[in-house]
């Protein structure tokens, strides 16, 4: 089942790339279909999923037995919820209408390819496959930004690619170190999680862990290795940005939990506080720098640094040996919810930014104002997404941040108290953004601004509907995520 989730979009990508006679509208239909099918399959997996019962829907196929490498897939609560998120965000991004799209067939082919490897990364249980999917996701994103971006797209794409690839090499080293330390070499994640092979390795274990921190920290991204993110976002088309923020950044935090936290819990304990400090710096720095931006998309991009900082804070708390087990569980659950919430909310915000670019090719907030009069639907969607992003109760971001800080306060009260200032700054920066772009007087040049089309509105309504649902009634998601991931991590 999970294998099919990867194969369907991969085959779709191949078909789109190989058959030159496919027209643009057909290409989009095919892409939507191969995006929707895995999502449906994942819903089936979810229907049969027992929360908290470890990895499920597992499938294995022998590949290179001498090195312990095999095709292994399976999901627990965290990876299932992230896979579902991937499906939803990709569906929204692929379905997002792109006017005057050059080389549409290739565009949709790359999207389908990126979808397959993103899903693969979350559902695989083999570290080598994990690494391969991690790097392939860079390739897909590289071409999507470089070929369909605007402005200095190619420089931004290259910066993104090399920066993240450098990080991925550190991850590869960590993976090899973990596999070699097993009694019998294997890349099976379940075996490594169960054995935690580097538990007593001292300095080498610490170096491997730091390598993983840096590698995943670049992807997340954390301060101070976040500077590839703004140019990549600013120059990418809206749907590509939505994927970058909504799905690819999650790979960093997912890796932090799966590899660093679950495979090296004993070493993690020693480094939880420094990681927490970096996370809090990311929270504040991301928010403050976002407030200093005049460019709409750069502002949203920096809020990603802020929000992923919350998620990493939750992970750091979960990996500490302090406080109660209940507090650490709640922080980790919060971190996973933050990934989901940020994926949906920021995905929506970047699609909105894309809609604005498609209409007037300008991200300077000063060039807008008073759009509420001509584009009430766009205003409503942006307002809802902005309030969700600033953590308003009743919306998904609040559920995440509440759980993270509940746990963090019981473990690192001072860090939590300082990090809490982030939610005040995000409030200021989003409300200022809304005020500048949507309210006040309408500039003469913007009188012809077109409101969202029905399709655009429908896509945003789908994403934001989930944001409201999770915010008002989150227990179904929290139960799906479960607390299984930490059961092994208790120090």
């Amino acid at each position: 089942m999970l294998t099919l989730c990867i194969l369907v979009p991969l085959l779709g990508a191949l078909a789109l790339a190989a058959i030159p006679s496919i027209r643009e509208s057909t290409a989009r239909t095919i892409a939507i279909a191969v995006t929707a099918v895995p999502l449906l399959l994942l819903l089936v997996v979810w229907a049969g999923f027992a929360p908290g019962a470890g990895f499920q829907s597992v499938a294995e196929a022998r590949w290179i037995p001498s090195l312990g490498i095999a095709w292994r897939v399976g999901v627990d609560g965290m990876s299932l919820s992230l896979s579902l998120l991937t499906g939803v965000v990709f569906l929204a991004a692929v379905a997002w209408p792109m006017a005057d799209l050059p080389r549409a067939r290739a565009y949709y082919a790359w999207f389908a390819f990126l979808y397959a490897v993103s899903l693969g990364l979350f559902v695989t249980l083999d570290l080598i496959l994990f690494y391969v999917f991690f790097d392939l996701s860079l390739v897909g994103m590289y071409f999507l930004i470089g070929r369909w971006g605007h402005g200095e797209a190619q420089a931004a794409a290259l910066k993104f690619f090399v920066y993240t690839l450098a990080g991925s090499l550190l991850i590869l080293i960590g993976i090899i170190a973990l596999a070699l330390s097993m009694p019998e070499i294997t890349f099976d994640m379940r075996a490594i999680i169960a054995a935690a092979p580097l538990a007593a390795a001292g300095l080498p274990a610490a170096l491997v862990l730091l390598g993983l921190f840096v590698g995943f920290g670049i992807k997340t991204p954390l301060f101070p290795v976040h500077t590839w993110l703004p140019p990549a976002h600013v120059n990418a088309p809206g749907p590509v940005s939505a994927i970058l923020a909504g799905v690819l950044l999650k790979m960093g935090t997912y890796g932090l939990v799966r590899l660093a936290l679950q495979m090296m819990p004993q070493t993690f304990v020693d480094w939880a506080l420094p990681l927490g400090v970096v996370a809090v710096i990311s929270i504040l720095w991301g928010a403050i720098v976002a407030l200093g931006q005049d460019d709409l998309k750069r502002r949203i991009a920096y809020t990603s640094v802020n929000h992923m900082g919350y998620a990493v804070l939750g992970i750091a708390v979960a990996g500490s040996a302090m406080g109660t087990q209940a507090a650490r569980d709640i922080a980790l659950t919060g971190a996973v919810v933050e990934m989901i919430a940020h994926g949906l909310i920021t995905g929506a915000l970047f699609l909105i930014a894309g809609a604005i670019w498609q209409r007037h090719q300008d991200y300077d907030m000063a060039a807008y104002g008073g759009l509420a009069g001509v584009a009430p639907r766009l205003t409503g969607a942006t307002t809802l997404a902005a309030f969700a992003s600033l953590g308003l109760p009743g919306l998904a971001g609040f559920v995440a941040e509440l759980h993270i800080f509940l746990g963090a306060f019981a473990v690192y009260p001072w860090l939590a108290a300082i990090g809490l200032l982030g939610i005040l700054i995000t409030a200021a920066l989003f409300l200022q953004l809304l005020g500048r772009v949507f309210f006040g007087a309408l500039p003469a040049a913007r009188t012809g601004f077109a409101d969202l089309t029905r399709i655009e509105l429908g896509i945003l309504a789908g994403l934001l509907g989930l944001v409201v649902l999770i915010g008002v009634w989150p227990i179904w998601l929290l139960e799906m995520i479960g607390t299984a991931p930490v059961a092994v991590a208790g120090g």
Binding site: Q154, G211, A327, I330, G370, L392, P393, L421, L431, L478
Partner: protein
């Protein structure tokens, strides 16, 4: 059942906003009907004492319930809400009326959630939702340049206080493992203190106490009906409600009572002076709200939360009609400048209906507001005569600003053509004015003992007679000062809040925004520094330079890395394929050196890590 008290107005408000098109009359009727249903619901819930809970997350359960005292507030909110909708339906611009009425209903739902909450998470949800809707309400006339910045100011100011509520919630969970109000009583030590002071800060922010006062002035850029609702029974009043609601859990926290009394009385005195110096009709009322809420805080600090709630109810009944009157005066005069009003002959009915609320604000017997204020003076007197003296002085100031306001706005001016205000607006004003008069009955022992029993609150024993004398003297003096100031209006503008607003603007907001811009530049030029097209001077660029030196100079490290370089670059080339040619930029060599450095670093880790 009880949750419908919060859910129904929200759902009805959304429906009204999204679906309703039509005339003023139709929208108002729909709004009144929805608010009327809310009132009925509140009465039913208050009568049945329904409670409810909801499993919201595996660790957190939301609980709802009403006590006798909170039930009174639950009924008060839609009662005032009915008058506000009626007034808004005729007074506010027709454009956007459906949105305004819908938002007022949603706002009611958020306030009711605060009232029925029995745990800190439900409270926080209602509390912040109210803040968000207040943003939309204050910024309702978004085409005006000042509306949205003022709304943002109000939201950020109140959210700064909300952080206190977050901290209280976290402290409660960390200390007791639960977020129920009941768990607060089980706290001790620093957790209890954090919870108590966190709640106090959050309440002070909403209620415009101390340093948070200026947002009430900025909120005056919103529609008048919104101001009336915010200042009487929701949002601002919610601050007093919250401290009164949770006071029993915090009564023994060292410094809590003292801090609440000091904050309340200081704000009450400062707010009185601010209101007295203002020439903007709504800002006079806004200053008076801070001052009156200050008295409620003082009552809570002294250990009499029930008195705070009673004063809140009396205050709601007289503050909303005063805002209505100010709105009608603005309709006629075209300005909120009190020096250009004197509309007694132009708006005789409005002026007459505004008299009882103005007298209640002044604290003049026999109106109900005077009794509740007097009880607060007595309660404070039991703690210390100095506190009672401060409250008496605050009462004198209230007499002065209420007198000045009423005289400037509605003293007969030049003989002018009488204009007739819409009867529905006058009905809204008249209803609450009438309620204010009815509340006079609370001076009688039968009614006030009955109310105390019904709401299950304690009343202080009578204080020394000198307090009564002092109050009457302060009242008389205040009225005389008010008359004098009304007759001698001063030209020119006053600084808002004795310069506190400017201090916050120039001392907090402007530096922070400047710091944000500086940080943005630092991020671009120092932390990144690769720039686009420049040679790069930042940290990352320095790293690239250092890596280049290391890569060329340290041969041995380079050799160790050699094994991996083909892998890395090979992968890069293989993946990129023909498309890579498109991406050749002048900066590529930077990146490749960076890549090599990463590989070298990785090699070291591998050597050490995988022995």
């Amino acid at each position: 059942m009880i949750w419908s008290l919060a859910l129904w107005p929200v759902a009805a408000g959304l429906a009204l906003w999204m679906l309703s098109r039509g005339s003023r009359r139709r929208l108002t009727a729909l709004g009144l009907a929805a608010m009327g249903v809310t009132l009925l619901l509140s009465l039913v819930v208050a009568a049945t004492g329904d409670t409810s809970s909801m499993a919201w997350s595996p660790a957190l359960t939301l609980r709802f319930g009403l006590s006798a005292m909170t039930a009174a507030v639950a009924v008060l909110v839609p009662l005032v809400g009915l008058c506000v909708i009626l007034f808004a339906g005729v007074h506010e611009a027709e454009r956007g009326l459906a949105r305004l009425l819908g938002l007022l209903l949603i706002f009611t739902g958020a306030m009711e959630l605060v009232v029925i909450a029995n745990d800190l998470v439900s409270l926080l949800v209602g509390w912040e939702l109210m803040g968000a809707i207040s943003w939309a309400l204050i910024g309702h006339r978004w085409r005006e340049a000042q509306a949205t910045p003022s709304a943002t100011y109000a939201f950020v100011a109140t959210r700064a206080g909300d952080l206190g509520l977050f901290v209280a919630l976290f402290a409660c969970f960390a200390g007791a493992g639960s977020v129920d109000y009941a768990a607060l009583t089980g706290l001790d030590g620093p957790y209890l203190a954090l919870a108590a002071f966190g709640v106090l800060v959050a309440a002070a922010a909403k209620a415009g106490q101390g340093p948070f006062a200026p947002w009430l002035f900025r909120a005056m850029d919103g529609p008048t009906s919104v101001s009336a609702f915010l200042h009487s029974s929701t949002m601002v009043a919610a601050g007093a409600f919250l401290v009164a609601r949770l006071q029993p859990s915090f009564a023994h926290v060292p410094g809590f009572g003292g801090a609440a009394m000091a904050l309340g009385l200081a704000t009450s005195l400062a707010g009185g002076i601010v209101a007295l110096r203002q020439d903007h009709a709504k800002k006079v009322l806004a200053g008076s709200t801070s001052a009156q809420l200050g008295l409620m805080f003082a009552a809570v600090g002294a250990g009499w939360p029930g008195l705070a709630i009673l004063h809140m109810i009396a205050h709601a009944a007289f503050k909303a009609p005063l805002f209505f009157a100010a709105g009608l005066a603005h309709e006629r005069a075209g300005t909120f400048d009190l020096r250009r009003m004197r509309l007694g002959l132009a708006l005789p009915v409005t002026g007459a209906l505004a008299v009882p609320p103005a007298l209640a604000l002044a604290g003049a017997p026999p109106l109900g507001g005077a009794w509740t204020k007097e009880e607060i003076v007595t309660a404070l007197g039991h703690a210390s005569p100095w506190l009672a003296a401060a409250a008496i002085a605050a009462g004198g100031l209230s007499a002065a600003y209420a007198t000045r306001f009423a005289l400037l706005a509605f003293w007969p001016g030049e003989a002018d053509e009488t204009s007739r205000s819409n009867w529905r607006a006058l009905a809204a004003l008249g209803t609450l004015s009438f309620v204010t008069v009815i509340l006079s009955g609370i001076w009688l022992p039968g009614p006030h003992d009955g109310v105390a029993r019904l709401f299950e609150i304690a009343l202080p024993s009578p204080g020394p007679w000198i307090e009564r004398i002092g109050t009457l003297c302060a009242l008389a003096l205040g009225v005389l000062v008010g008359i004098y100031l009304a007759r001698h209006p001063r030209a020119g503008e006053r600084r808002d809040w004795l310069g506190l607003a400017d201090l916050i603007d120039n001392g907090v907001i402007a530096p922070f925004l400047a710091a944000a811009r500086l940080s943005a530049r630092l991020d671009d030029y120092v932390i990144d520094g690769l720039g686009s097209g420049s040679r790069g001077r930042g940290l990352l660029a320095a790293f690239v330079v250092a890596a280049r030196a290391a890569a060329t100079g340290a041969a041995r490290a380079g050799e160790a890395a050699m094994d991996l370089i083909p892998t890395g670059t090979g992968r890069l080339l293989g993946m990129a394929g023909a498309d890579l040619r498109r991406t050749q930029t002048g900066l590529s060599h930077h990146y490749y050196v960076f890549l090599v450095a990463g590989v070298a670093l990785g090699g070291v880790v591998l050597i050490l890590g995988a022995r």
